[in-house]
Symmetry: C2
Subunit: 423 residues, 2 copies
Amino acid sequence: MIQAVLLSGGHGGEAVSATLLMLAFVLIGAKLAGEVTERLGQPAVLGELLAGILLGNAVAGPWVQELRASETFLVLAELGAVLLLFHVGLESTPREMLAVGGRAFAVAVIGVVTPMALGWGVGMLARPGDSWMLHAFLGAMLCATSVGITARVLDDLGLVRSAAGRIILGAAVIDDVLGLVVLAVISGIITAAGSGQALGAGAIALIVVKAVVFLVGSLGVGGLLSPRLFAAAVALRSRGLVQTLSLSFCFLMAWAALAAGLAPIVGAFAAGLVLEDVHFERLKERGEPALHHSLEPLIGLFVPVFFVRMGMLVDVRSFFDGSVIVVALALTAAAVIGKLACAIAVPPGVSRLVVGLGMMPRGEVGLIFAGIGATLHLAGRPVIDAGTYAAAVFMVVATTVATPPALMWAARRLRSAGAAPVD
Amino acid sequence: MIQAVLLSGGHGGEAVSATLLMLAFVLIGAKLAGEVTERLGQPAVLGELLAGILLGNAVAGPWVQELRASETFLVLAELGAVLLLFHVGLESTPREMLAVGGRAFAVAVIGVVTPMALGWGVGMLARPGDSWMLHAFLGAMLCATSVGITARVLDDLGLVRSAAGRIILGAAVIDDVLGLVVLAVISGIITAAGSGQALGAGAIALIVVKAVVFLVGSLGVGGLLSPRLFAAAVALRSRGLVQTLSLSFCFLMAWAALAAGLAPIVGAFAAGLVLEDVHFERLKERGEPALHHSLEPLIGLFVPVFFVRMGMLVDVRSFFDGSVIVVALALTAAAVIGKLACAIAVPPGVSRLVVGLGMMPRGEVGLIFAGIGATLHLAGRPVIDAGTYAAAVFMVVATTVATPPALMWAARRLRSAGAAPVD
């Protein structure tokens, strides 16, 4: 009886109690499932997703419904997505993205345009009666390469520093940025249309300009201001001050993106890109951990909440519908073919197969896009309905599961043929 | 317009937006205020508290009201308290608590009984018309020594390994446990009375038994099971698995405490006591960070939220009431005298002044107690009303501010007198 009274009245006490229990089970479930998938040679994110699907479908009871609708669960999951994209952004800098140069850019552009066109086509065939905006959203969902999963697999295969590896990572980062711009534009257009506004060419142009101005502006202003700001912060004596300021910066940019009409992850990613390790040299001299190391426990706590929640939103029963399976297979085919197409931009002497396969995984970013689509509405219906959401999750899981063994096979095949795929 | 739509409908999107902005400002404000207080030789927690008082009183606007009432803000703050007490619990083990033996126990018991009696007396004088339960709660609020602040100050003075230091730390830990038991019992009694039940001796005994059984039981069962559980977990290969399981264990114990009618921090503290570094030896061999290191970023994110929220709940205007100032000074005097009284149990050769002063700070635990009191009701009124809450915060701030300079003075005085206070 006391627990309802202990914390700011009954309402708050129940929220605290539910959150504690949820965090305990989500963390254990996600981690154990992750351990199983890692033992099978798959990334842990798959395990977390499957734990969520299991929790959302096999476990009965009203508390699953309550959890799905919980505001605190949503906020904690969103913090997970924000921290994850901040972390991904930290892994690269605007300068590095320019340095990988034309090749990676060409691979990236083809890797965005082809899946976009193929996904759009799948949408036209699968849901012919619906608006072009919905078809375009399906295409947008296939654009972004999951740089996290790609980097992990390349690292395991010892290919990170190879020519193919550098092209893949550079292109994956550019893909992420292009994908986020495409997402921002398409969801902006859908939101404007959904609110009943007439959508002229001018309004669409405004959305495109807003997205580009936010990204370019935040990278420009942030890139100019942050070295000075953080140099001043490093001079202060509090331990952990720079980490706190970096997190604040990430949250502030995520909020600004949301206020500017973009997804919060766009702001978090931009915040990560702007911050560079070079700002933190003096931290290392003082023996403090690097920023991305001190982010890891936060990521370990929040990111599983995000993926388990994503899995919980999958309604397994929608797979019993034959048309869902067809859409799932068509989306997966579009995703794979679209990325393999990038290989035509690969220079001679670098394995096209390795680059094409390396661009395949959609992972977390694809899931985030699908989740956003489920909350957008057109003519009173969600852009990504339960069936399409399930198909999108299938596509993400299939491309992510297939990448590690496919890349291993391609690397081994080239080595046995006497070629040198690794330089 | 889009931000309200992007995330599970308008409600959730606003909560995400508000949380991102809140976290950004709370983190920056808390850290900068902490930097200022650290430069003045005071613990950073004071700065966080003052930032909250400033935010809650000087900054006008409806969003402060919204923030005070926000469920997500409450949950994040409570996670801060839970993680902090888990961290404090990790710093000691049941075995260590037994090893410091009789002296520390005697110091601890006197350090709980005297402030309890004095605080009860202050309650009888200040609010003579109120129930004995309210007076007892005021006493309970003065019991726990803040082991975190004490350890920090002793560390800064190089006194951690001295006889006085070991007695202070041992007694502070026992104080924390006794204080939590006292809190559990008093708030259990108040809750039972508040819900209109007749409260016989049997009901009170039941509450005492429940609190003791939970603590002893969780320490016993946890102490037996956790080495085996964690030995199995360490054998698994996922990086960060043990940290995840430890966090889950902490959240689960906090939830269990809440379900058993205790405050969640009691469970978190018990979870920390049960886990020992010796379980994690193999982690270090693999080069993974120790558990308390990987907790630090989580503590850096959540704990300032807790203290800023605590500060925000202080209504500065209540200090304009003369009787509040009198209660504040009387509570502070009771807190200081009550802890200085422990010195009579100090063995010859160890500085009584150092031990007495070292037991003084109430810090985070006192604040947590005050916050719990503000949510308990007796005869329709909160046990800790706005005025008493302000007085309690004054007591916590005063004892915490006074400890570092007073301990420094005592240590210097003994050294110049030729005594050896440090062994």
